[in-house]
C-alpha cells in the first residue's frame, strides 16, 4: 500500500518495488533463521560439531578456532548435500541468507530503475550489486 495524502504518492515506483522485495525477504529471513536455529539447538539433524565443543572454544579468535576445528565459513555449508544436512550448517545457511538479503533487493531495484529509464541509478545499483557479489565470492577475504 502506498502512503497517500489526497492522491499524492510519496514514494516512486523503484522504492515501492524495493520495499515489496525487502518485506518478503526480511520476513523469510526471520522464519528461516528461527527454524534453522531450532534444528541446531534441538539437534533435530546430526551436527557437524557438537554445541559443547563450539561453546568450549568461543573464547578463541576465529583464526585459532579454524586451526583447531572445521567450523563453517563462507559458503562451506553448501559444499555437499551431506554437509548441508547438518543442524549447524542449516543454521549457518540462514545467516548466509541474511547476508544475501540486500543483494536480492538491489537486484530488483536495478530492474525497476531500467524500466523507469533511469540509467544513471541503474548503473549505480548494478555497481553496488557487483561490490556485494565480489564480497560474497570471498575474493576480498582470501589468504587466511
Amino acid at each position: 500500500m502506498t502512503e497517500k495524502k489526497k492522491g499524492v504518492i510519496y514514494a516512486d515506483r523503484v522504492q515501492l518495488t524495493y520495499a515489496k522485495t525487502l518485506e518478503f525477504v526480511s520476513h523469510s529471513v526471520i522464519v528461516v533463521m528461527a527454524v534453522g536455529y531450532l534444528f541446531y539447538l534441538l539437534q533435530l539433524l546430526p551436527l557437524g560439531l557438537p554445541i559443547e565443543t563450539i561453546a568450549g572454544n568461543w573464547h578463541l579468535s576465529s583464526a585459532e578456532l579454524h586451526d583447531t576445528m572445521q567450523v563453517p565459513c563462507g559458503w562451506s555449508c553448501f559444499s555437499s548435500l551431506s554437509t548441508l544436512l547438518h543442524g549447524d550448517s542449516v543454521s549457518y545457511a540462514s545467516v548466509v541468507f541474511l547476508a544475501m538479503a540486500t543483494t536480492l533487493c538491489l537486484a530488483t531495484a536495478i530492474w525497476a530503475f531500467f524500466s523507469e529509464k533511469n540509467y544513471f541509478y541503474a548503473a549505480m545499483a548494478t555497481l553496488q550489486v557487483v561490490v556485494l557479489l565480489l564480497a560474497a565470492s570471498g575474493i576480498f577475504s582470501s589468504g587466511r
Binding site: 518485506e23 579468535s61 576465529s62 547476508a99
Partner: protein, 318 residues
C-alpha cells in the same frame, strides 16, 4: 493505557538495570580474562545473551541509537565470546534491524534510495576494507581503538544537536546532477516537507570513513550516518534516520561477508543476538511515544561510556 503506564515505569528501570548489572559485573571481570569468567553452562550464556539483546533492543530504540553500537562494546566486555564473533554478530544485528525496519519507511518516502545509493556504494567498499583491517589486527589493539571510538560516540551523543527541518538554500551541483531531493508527508504536523541537499561531496567522503569504522568494529554506524545526513547535508531528521538504515543494510551486508569468510560468525552466538534485538526493537518502537526518552538517552550514554572504558582497559591488558 495499562501497558503505557507499565512501559513508563519498566523501561527506565530496565535501562538502569542494565547499567547496574554492568557495574556489578565490571569489578570482578576487570581483573580476569573473559573466558576465565565462564562459570555458567553454555546454554546459560545463550539465554543471557538473548535476554540481554532483547533489553538492548528496547533501550536502543528509545535512545535513538542503532543496536550494533550498544551490542558490540557491551557484549565483548561482559560475555565470554571472542571479539571476532561479537563483531560478526554486531554487524548482523545491525543488518537485520535495518532490513526489518525498511519497508514502511521506503513506502512513506522517508527512506530514500537515491540519497542512500551513492553513500552506500563508497561506504560498502570502505566497510569491506575496515572489516579486513579489523580482523587482521591484534585483538588488544582493536579493543583499545573500540574503547576510543565508543567513548567518542558517547561524546558525540552529548554534544551533537539535531535539526528537524534544516534549511538548504542552494543544493550543490552534484546532488542536482544525481537528482537527490524528495518530498514526504509529516504526520506529526500534518504537512508536506520537501527537501534537497548540499555539501554532497563532503558527505560522500565522510561516508567512506564511517563505512570503514563500521566494518572494523562491527558497529551499525547509524550514530554517524544520521548527523552527516542531517547536520552536514541538510536532510530532514526523519529522512536522515530512515535513510541511514538503508545505507547501513548495504554496508553491513558487504562487511558481513568478510566476517563470514574469516569464520567470525558463529550462528550459536549470532542468531539469539539477532532474535533478541529484533524482538526488543519492536517492543521499543511501541513504547517510544509513552516513555521519557531523554532519561533513557542519558542512561545509554552512561552505559556506552562505561563499556568504552571497559574496552580501553582490556586494550591496555588490564
Amino acid at each position: 493505557m495499562r501497558i503505557s503506564s507499565i512501559g513508563r515505569r519498566l523501561v527506565p528501570a530496565a535501562s538502569a538495570g542494565i547499567a547496574v548489572a554492568l557495574l556489578m559485573q565490571a569489578a570482578p571481570l576487570l581483573a580476569a580474562a573473559p573466558h576465565a569468567a565462564e562459570g555458567m553452562a553454555w546454554w546459560g550464556w545463550l539465554i543471557a545473551l538473548f535476554v540481554f539483546s532483547f533489553l538492548l533492543g528496547i533501550v536502543a530504540v528509545l535512545a535513538g541509537v542503532g543496536g550494533g553500537v550498544l551490542f558490540v562494546p557491551i557484549v565483548s566486555g561482559f560475555f565470554p565470546f571472542h571479539l571476532d564473533y561479537v563483531r560478526g554478530a554486531g554487524l548482523l544485528v545491525a543488518l537485520a534491524g535495518a532490513l526489518s525496519a525498511g519497508p514502511p519507511l521506503l513506502r512513506k518516502g522517508l527512506a530514500d534510495l537515491k540519497l542512500a545509493l551513492p553513500m552506500a556504494l563508497v561506504g560498502s567498499v570502505s566497510s569491506i576494507v575496515g572489516a579486513l583491517v579489523g580482523l587482521s589486527m591484534q585483538v588488544q589493539n582493536v579493543q583499545l581503538l573500540l574503547g576510543i571510538v565508543i567513548i567518542s560516540i558517547a561524546g558525540i551523543m552529548i554534544k551533537a544537536g539535531k535539526s528537524g527541518y534544516p534549511e538548504v538554500k542552494q543544493p550543490d551541483r552534484l546532488s542536482q546532477m544525481m537528482g537527490i531531493s524528495g518530498l514526504y508527508y509529516e504526520e506529526y504536523g500534518q504537512h508536506e516537507v520537501s527537501w534537497q541537499v548540499h555539501r554532497t561531496p563532503l558527505g560522500i567522503a565522510l561516508f567512506i570513513v564511517i563505512g570503514f569504522i563500521g566494518g572494523m568494529f562491527g558497529l551499525g554506524a547509524g550514530f554517524a550516518n544520521v548527523p552527516v545526513f542531517n547536520l552536514l547535508m541538510g536532510v530532514p531528521l526523519k529522512v536522515a534516520v530512515a535513510t541511514s538504515g538503508l545505507v547501513l543494510s548495504i554496508n553491513g551486508s558487504a562487511a558481513a561477508w568478510v566476517y563470514l569468510f574469516k569464520g567470525a560468525v558463529l550462528p550459536l552466538i549470532a542468531v539469539p543476538s539477532i532474535g533478541g534485538m529484533m524482538l526488543g526493537s519492536k517492543i521499543g518502537a511501541k513504547l517510544l511515544p509513552k516513555v521519557n526518552t531523554r532519561t533513557i538517552r542519558l542512561i545509554v550514554i552512561a552505559i556506552l561510556a562505561l563499556s568504552g572504558f571497559r574496552s580501553l582497559l582490556k586494550g591496555f591488558g588490564i
